[in-house]
Symmetry: C4
Subunit: 239 residues, 4 copies
Amino acid sequence: MTREFVAEFLGTALLLAVVVGSGIMGESLAGGNQAVALLANSLATGSALVVLILVFAPISGAHLNPVVTLSAAARGKLTWSKVAPCLLAQVLGAFVGVAVAHVMFGEPAFTASSHIRSGPGQLVSEAVATFGLVLTILAVERSRPAAVPYAVALFIVSAYWFTASTSFANPAVTLARGATATFAGIRPVDVPGFVVAQVVGAAGAVATFAWLWSPERAPGADRRTVAGQGGLVDVADEA
Amino acid sequence: MTREFVAEFLGTALLLAVVVGSGIMGESLAGGNQAVALLANSLATGSALVVLILVFAPISGAHLNPVVTLSAAARGKLTWSKVAPCLLAQVLGAFVGVAVAHVMFGEPAFTASSHIRSGPGQLVSEAVATFGLVLTILAVERSRPAAVPYAVALFIVSAYWFTASTSFANPAVTLARGATATFAGIRPVDVPGFVVAQVVGAAGAVATFAWLWSPERAPGADRRTVAGQGGLVDVADEA
Amino acid sequence: MTREFVAEFLGTALLLAVVVGSGIMGESLAGGNQAVALLANSLATGSALVVLILVFAPISGAHLNPVVTLSAAARGKLTWSKVAPCLLAQVLGAFVGVAVAHVMFGEPAFTASSHIRSGPGQLVSEAVATFGLVLTILAVERSRPAAVPYAVALFIVSAYWFTASTSFANPAVTLARGATATFAGIRPVDVPGFVVAQVVGAAGAVATFAWLWSPERAPGADRRTVAGQGGLVDVADEA
Amino acid sequence: MTREFVAEFLGTALLLAVVVGSGIMGESLAGGNQAVALLANSLATGSALVVLILVFAPISGAHLNPVVTLSAAARGKLTWSKVAPCLLAQVLGAFVGVAVAHVMFGEPAFTASSHIRSGPGQLVSEAVATFGLVLTILAVERSRPAAVPYAVALFIVSAYWFTASTSFANPAVTLARGATATFAGIRPVDVPGFVVAQVVGAAGAVATFAWLWSPERAPGADRRTVAGQGGLVDVADEA
């Protein structure tokens, strides 16, 4: 359990260092063009996500996200006793990652964001983003597990752009981004709404997945999967 | 069939949410630089296409596009009775996706586009784009099926830039983009021309594929393919 | 041979349509920022290269480039009688591709470029770019053949930026780009120098490859390769 | 040993030609927008890294980086007698690469940089970047060796943006970048601090890896790996 805790802590810390650090760098260099800053921020985040999942998945599954951990527990893939330490590691890691980014860029460890992110459009955005993220993980884990790192990263790159909230889609990330008065920040008062919307979206994804991929409804869904090496290997997963 | 209908509906809805949403976001942040907006739009669309095909292909083939469904039926890979519900799901999904994007960005559900996209250059562009898209799907599905999600996405990223129309290449997408007065919109009166050009391009691709990959002309074309797991697996498909 | 001719023709035509078309689009939208235009141009070209190689490699090897065809012949991998028709298909395809791009964007079929690309820096650039391209193809084809489409595309994306000439690295492409008075053009008088530099670079790559990967010098180089399916499959080629 | 020396020399030379060349090109075209220049620089570097590792890994492991070579030696994967020639090849290659870039862009072979990169934020950045890079290599080499070229490249793309130093993470690269008065340069007086920070980061990564992936702590970590073809093949490595 210590190893899993450390992996989730370290992975989430590096994720936040990337999200916050690349936001600071992008904004400081982009000369006021916010789209160029967000291109940098989304490219850096997506690139890092592939790597972090490749590195930490063999140890802890590389959830790096409380709603992913909760979805796994809800589906019986993770014992509930592991959930609390996992979430704790993710939240602690997230705040440490923000502090690391701030130190690299010569800022105080934590600063309160005043970036307003409220209103129905933002909440719908977070629900849609988290629905898409969790559905992606569940579906690709089932049919092409080795493609999960790429699928997760590409979904987030896309969601940075197609949602009005730039897709936080992660309660630990949301909490910690309340503590940075930079490009990636969110006003602390807007955090609870984001988290609720994320949980709603994740629950919708778990339900949709259960319906669409249920054994009685999709008897052929397993035909591309070969049971081997503990179920982790999929013979069609080769691109 | 219900599952396939839902998969095509949901996949096309998410695709349109990405196309329209990232267009709105890109344009609103790019400070008037349309190339930066299109970089964001193409990056988001390509990233999402990989994910949507990975997620929905095991259920419905993830056509998300009427001309892809029609091409499959014309080649005898899909029974004709499934075509109509498939197209219906795609068109309904496309409009719902536009509405979702609009809600996220605080717009009315539908707005009529006044974005002029007419003239011979536009029509040739749509024919070329759809020719390339359908040929890509048919050829890569045959020689390296697991690479299809990546090939489709990369083709579209490229076609957003090399065609004068930014490559709609999809009648359901074209119809629904008539209902958004944003970056991705198209004047409703220009829609029929686009759809005709797309059908022409797709037909050309089916004919070209049939000629170039016909068994008598390409007796060795199958030498890299291993029949296994229902023909879905290709041993050379490993990069 | 007809099939191979058509594949090389069609592939090179599409390649030039992408190179020239995305150059026109990028420049027209970028508001004078040439780096943004080149980002679009390089992204579109790289994306298309993956797809074109995936699509046409099973038929003709997808050389799409005279120096690649010549390198293959020099190494005894292609009979010399096939070289001339191959080069003809590539050159014809390249000019047709330029015309297709021009038609899509409402330009005359061909226009003479006045884009000056001369001087020693440009020639060294073309030699370095072609050296890198051919070495990449030879080395990756040997150790991880399924990764070739990705390796070629990524090399070209990189070379668009790190060489002073934006890396033509292809005599057919160079000739045809003399016929476009747009972003991607080259003054016809500068074409011969480019072609000579490209041949020099390719010859250097063939020699370097022969030395570094010679059986007596690299007895273990084959240990990762499994002879199967006509030598096209490499068991380590799985990322 | 000659082959390995030449591979490390050539690979590092090409890497520096890319880093410095794309920096010059990006800055000269970006019209003063430093973020656009860094987008080009990071895209070119990441693309090239995939290719260079694919090309040279079968010969020398494609370290291209003294701290990677030292980490391998410290872990007993490389005999210490090979370390000095390896480092020499990397450093020589790095300087030659800078000169090649300069020649392509019509600059003198070497020029002293006056780009100030000092202060604690820069040093922490280099330690974090090198920690992440080395941990990525060690972890992915163990669980999915065929994904290493992609993981390394994506990590560096990300680190160009999320660290305040734009992530040199390589002592040979750092030394040679002291010899270019262009976008990618570093004031020679700032080089030693960077190198020390890089060694500290790499040592931290080796220690973290040893702890997290130790056999007694991670008895199941090998369950996804199949010993075959000299331990280079991983059955789960298929995306």
